[in-house]
Symmetry: C2
Subunit: 325 residues, 2 copies
């Protein structure tokens, strides 16, 4: 970056996100200083999004800023952590003020909503790539992990997985849609909502938890592998949105729900004795029981092994090939 450009950029990222009393020094020194709460465990996560791989070229800057934070907040949600601080690594081809303003607004709005302060980062010149590190806190011993699912546990999922992949397909012209269904599905891809409140509510309830970034089947397979168990999912219990059902041909809906990535819902296991507690949760999203944890390894849908494609996840831009997030 030339000097002038750099100063322009710094302006966009000073005092962004929520104000927090535990931030002793934010953007402006070699590092940020924060006061960690006593007796809490810190949760740290880092995710990168790359233009053309995790979002389309020319994607609205506001959506890019939102997504960069949302995918990271989703990791905190999956751990049952309370969001606290974020650091931004922004690599961009040039300092376009209009773009920067949109990006910062998208990031800022979501950060404030979740009480997270932007405390530092680095801006460099190069192909558009955004890395965020987020830190949160969780009381000692109360974090949700991928391991911990036990045979006999129920399996649950939040929201309506598959919508984000349908939204992307609409954006790319692979799926035709109009009106409210189109708007709803596009929004699910453009502005994914990390399930932070749900993660907090599941402390002490979920025996294992993961967020759905690569696709429900793929992420469930990771949870099962970490827990040393398997999963039996009932296809008819998968929650399909009205929007998805109105735009996706019947024979593709299950594939969207199982293999579509980018939803940032939570999938979790819990004791059958906790059905009442889970039913009574009010975390801003519908929860659906979709199956059960079994001793037999692997993920099965209606008794049939989920295919390799499903297990390896969603290619964010192909829709079906093995993916990586």
């Amino acid at each position: 970056m030339a000097a002038g450009e750099f100063e322009v950029i710094e302006r966009y990222f000073t005092r962004r996100g929520a104000h927090r009393d535990d931030v002793l020094a934010g953007v402006g020194d070699d590092g940020a200083l924060v006061a960690a709460p006593a007796d809490a465990t810190l949760v740290l996560a880092l995710d990168t999004i790359v233009e053309g791989a995790h979002f389309p070229s020319g994607f609205d800057a506001r959506f890019v800023g939102h997504r960069a934070l949302a995918v990271n907040l989703s990791d905190l949600a999956a751990m049952g952590a309370d969001p606290a601080w974020a650091l931004l690594g922004l690599t961009l081809p040039s300092a376009d003020e209009h773009w920067l303003s949109g990006f910062a607004a998208g990031l800022d709005t979501l950060a404030r909503r979740h009480g997270i302060a932007l405390i530092g980062g680095d801006t460099t010149r190069g192909p558009l790539t955004v890395t965020l590190t987020v830190a949160g806190t969780v009381p000692r011993g109360r974090a949700l992990m991928r391991e911990g699912a036990r045979p006999g546990d129920d399996l649950w999922v939040s929201g309506t997985p598959g919508d984000a992949a349908a939204g992307l397909a609409i954006l790319q012209g692979r799926l035709a849609a109009q009106g409210r269904a189109r708007d709803a599905l596009l929004a699910r891809f453009q502005l994914p909502q990390p399930r932070v409140a749900l993660g907090l509510a599941l402390r002490g309830i979920a025996t294992a938890c993961i967020d759905v970034s690569d696709g429900l089947a793929a992420d469930l397979a990771k949870l099962c592998a970490a827990s040393g168990v398997g999963a039996d999912v009932e296809g008819r219990e998968l929650p399909l949105s009205a929007g998805l059902c109105s735009v996706a041909p019947p024979d593709t809906r299950l594939a969207y729900a199982l293999r579509g990535g980018d939803d940032y819902e939570l999938v979790f296991s819990a004791s059958a004795s906790d059905r009442g507690r889970i039913g009574a949760l009010d975390a801003g999203v519908v929860l659906r029981r979709i199956g059960a944890v079994s001793e037999e390894q692997g993920v099965r849908i209606d008794g049939k092994p989920a295919g390799r494609d499903a297990v390896h996840g969603f290619d964010h831009f192909g829709g079906v090939a093995p993916g990586s997030r």
Copy 2:
């Protein structure tokens, strides 16, 4: 990344760096879990290095891994923090196992040397870009900041700034060198040593501190701006290495020392009454008193204002143009 590639990559970054008892869960879940020490302040920093901007294309993978961590450890050093944990965001064009192995080794060696554990991260496909977040700890109220320099304070610098820029010039064929001088200067660019021990030793001594990444004059200007003071540097006191003197023409040596970036030395202010304590420090690097803090704003070299180029820093690849790190 295709699934197979991704699994290959994950292998390289599991259990890297030092083993630390405060890491409750490292790579492998949605986030890492660490126990923050009671009564300490956390220091968090994030830096990105981009191929072709912060290191040359084709730079040895081991040096890239080393540099990605070194530039971040240098931020912790400048804050007087004790390194603890790191998260890696690695964007790379393909999963070349030879490259990954070298990169991981470079990162691992430096991490172990400084007691830092690699606890998480993300690998994505794209143009080679490496972002690291590092976290360290410092006793409450003992962090070194850029602000705090007072008129009358001494100004000090560690090591021999300018060497890294000369090393890069040699690498790019802009400067001719042979034998030991060549090796020494190249090493200063290839394997910069963050001054972590010095940063720790300066707690309670330095009134302000910053690391030299953009060039001594540029980084000193930032320290002065944050402290609301100016600086008078005596050119004859600038420590020039024997290597630099043997390869750089006399009229360029001062420019290397003042404007050369990538040294990752520390420049700091301290009370004149602490000269004895500073002289007695044993932090593995020579310290030199190069001038004094003044009330008059700006950085002056032998009474003359440091030019805009110097103040705005080193272009890592041009040597003299305004830079950004």
